[in-house]
Symmetry: C2
Subunit: 397 residues, 2 copies
Amino acid sequence: MANPEKKETHELRKTIHCIKVGIAMTLVSLYYYTNPWSNINSQGAAMWAVMTVVVVFEFTVGGCLYKGLNRAVATLIAGCLALGIHWIASLSGDRFEPVILGLSVFVLASIATFYRFVTFIKVWFDYGVTIFILTFSLIAVSGYKQDTLFTLAQQRLYNIGIGIFICLLVCVLICPVWAGEDLHLLIIWNMEKLANSLEGCIAEYFKEGGVLLAVDEDQEAIIQRSEGYKHILSSKPSEDSLAILARWEPGHGCYGFRHPWNQYLKIGAAMRLCAYCLESLAGCIDSQTQVPESMKRHLSEACIKLSTNSSRILKELAKCIKFMKKSKYIDLLIRDQNNAVKELDRALRSLPPMEAMENFGCVSLLEGRVLITAASLLIEISARIIGVVEAVNLLAE
Amino acid sequence: MANPEKKETHELRKTIHCIKVGIAMTLVSLYYYTNPWSNINSQGAAMWAVMTVVVVFEFTVGGCLYKGLNRAVATLIAGCLALGIHWIASLSGDRFEPVILGLSVFVLASIATFYRFVTFIKVWFDYGVTIFILTFSLIAVSGYKQDTLFTLAQQRLYNIGIGIFICLLVCVLICPVWAGEDLHLLIIWNMEKLANSLEGCIAEYFKEGGVLLAVDEDQEAIIQRSEGYKHILSSKPSEDSLAILARWEPGHGCYGFRHPWNQYLKIGAAMRLCAYCLESLAGCIDSQTQVPESMKRHLSEACIKLSTNSSRILKELAKCIKFMKKSKYIDLLIRDQNNAVKELDRALRSLPPMEAMENFGCVSLLEGRVLITAASLLIEISARIIGVVEAVNLLAE
């Protein structure tokens, strides 16, 4: 499994995609150039193959299949409908013909556009509806006679088929990029990022308190690691679009045809809930309010333990998804996490009373509050991680 | 200004858009049907007008302009380039001609696809690059002689121009939908939603504490109002796409040609920071932990005051953006907010010490912690609102 998040892998995939587009275009162009039909019949026919390749060829196999199947089916349906309307119009005489044709285009274009707003159609058939309008209008109002039109429509369909075939051939045979696999990997990496961020944030916060953590890492790497959660905040659109395309893909690798891609979205949503909390936590930590070392030290161990435990659960879940099997240790880890929560609660409980805290000298309640909030959010995050565990368990089933 | 968020307005806009598509398609189809060229010359030429309308007609004026201009310019550039390559290939003899043409398609399609990954090109010219590849391939490998090709290219460009003209005409003249205005309104409504959510969340939380708030509203309306912030969490994609399209729009209404649409994105981002915190706050409140009434009552007034103040600032900002002028009261409101923060801090400070709290009977520290966290997050939100104020001030400049 290649890591699409890694910069070099990403660059390589882009380059391969560019070459694939070049190959597909060259194949179809040479077919067009050498096709005997392009000389004996209207140039329009074989041209459709070229056009199909340009608009159908997508980065992922799912994208290619979505557009290809939509284009083929929409062209077929619109073609039949248009031929029917054309036939009816031609029967009604020269006077009414343009009226019937114009009206049919108006009504069908309006209705089809309306369906583009329906969520189900928008997700599955948006491109198909566009092609439906295009094909219908082109055929319905072409000036041709019925029999010429029939041959033309046949040719066009045949050429579109050729275009789709070339697209799929190149897309699937040369280093295929599967949307499903990308979604799978995206969720895994986001989960690992979340785990690292959570651990990194807390480690970074308590580091100054004398407890030196992650000594072998430099400052910048830690900051970069702790900010990984920001990717999760903004990754909903990519997850959604990958899940939509993944549904079009046939079984590949270890994913079956009806792999529950929707469940990945639920895992993504559960992770985002954690990320929102982590964002608030990071906000608290960044808030420049210096908490006195003694108070920090008091909570440090329990906080670090809880964050390490939570992070371990996330890493274990990531591993579960990666190898697609249930984890043996997850219940144990959750028990550990519960213990860590209790320990942090005990640590909070044994904080000196607010009044007494001010005797530390430099600390106002506002400062103590930041620490309590951070601990509180940490507990909230660990509760939300249980939501992620549940979502992953549902996927495992 | 129509409210695109309102359901009826939204439905009306959709219906009008459907009718507009129908009108544009009918206009171009009738033009195609009655166009003398479609009989004397290849059907291919006028067909381009129909195709242009189908793919260029978009919901917003910005979308129409983006696609229209991209299509026109890309066709022109690709056409010139392809004619040049075709001429060179025709000079090199029958044997090398297909090789040169095939190679040029391969190289140009690959390079153009590569540029689609560059962010700047992706944002501004993605559609243009697709059309470039399409036009170049179609012309470069067509079997026509140089002079026929030139006439054909001219006709095609002319027809594409007609298509774009019809699109823009219908799009701008019949109830135009401006992406810029939509973005403007989206930001305003999101801001109002955030203000209402913030107020609603806190009011809902402290309501049970004997302080009855919003007596004239039923439970469901309050819940719906408090959940408005969820829209903000997921509105980044719509904001981004509207801002991209808005840049293509000429001056309209009270927005100039170079209206700082990017600044709206910054306001949106600042609001999202507040929404993340509010999400955590809502999580705390939902966490089923019952805080004893006496403790709640102790903080209730200060919390409600701060949330009302913060909400007032957001509403004032929304008004500022709506009427595009600087607010006279904002400094006053910020001062009020600062006072409210101090008051809440004082209230927190005067909480009985942790130990003593347990004497209330039902309260463990875990429960008291939720209240302190909620107050803390409220203070963090009010700090983040200052970020929104700064972003709005930048827009005002």
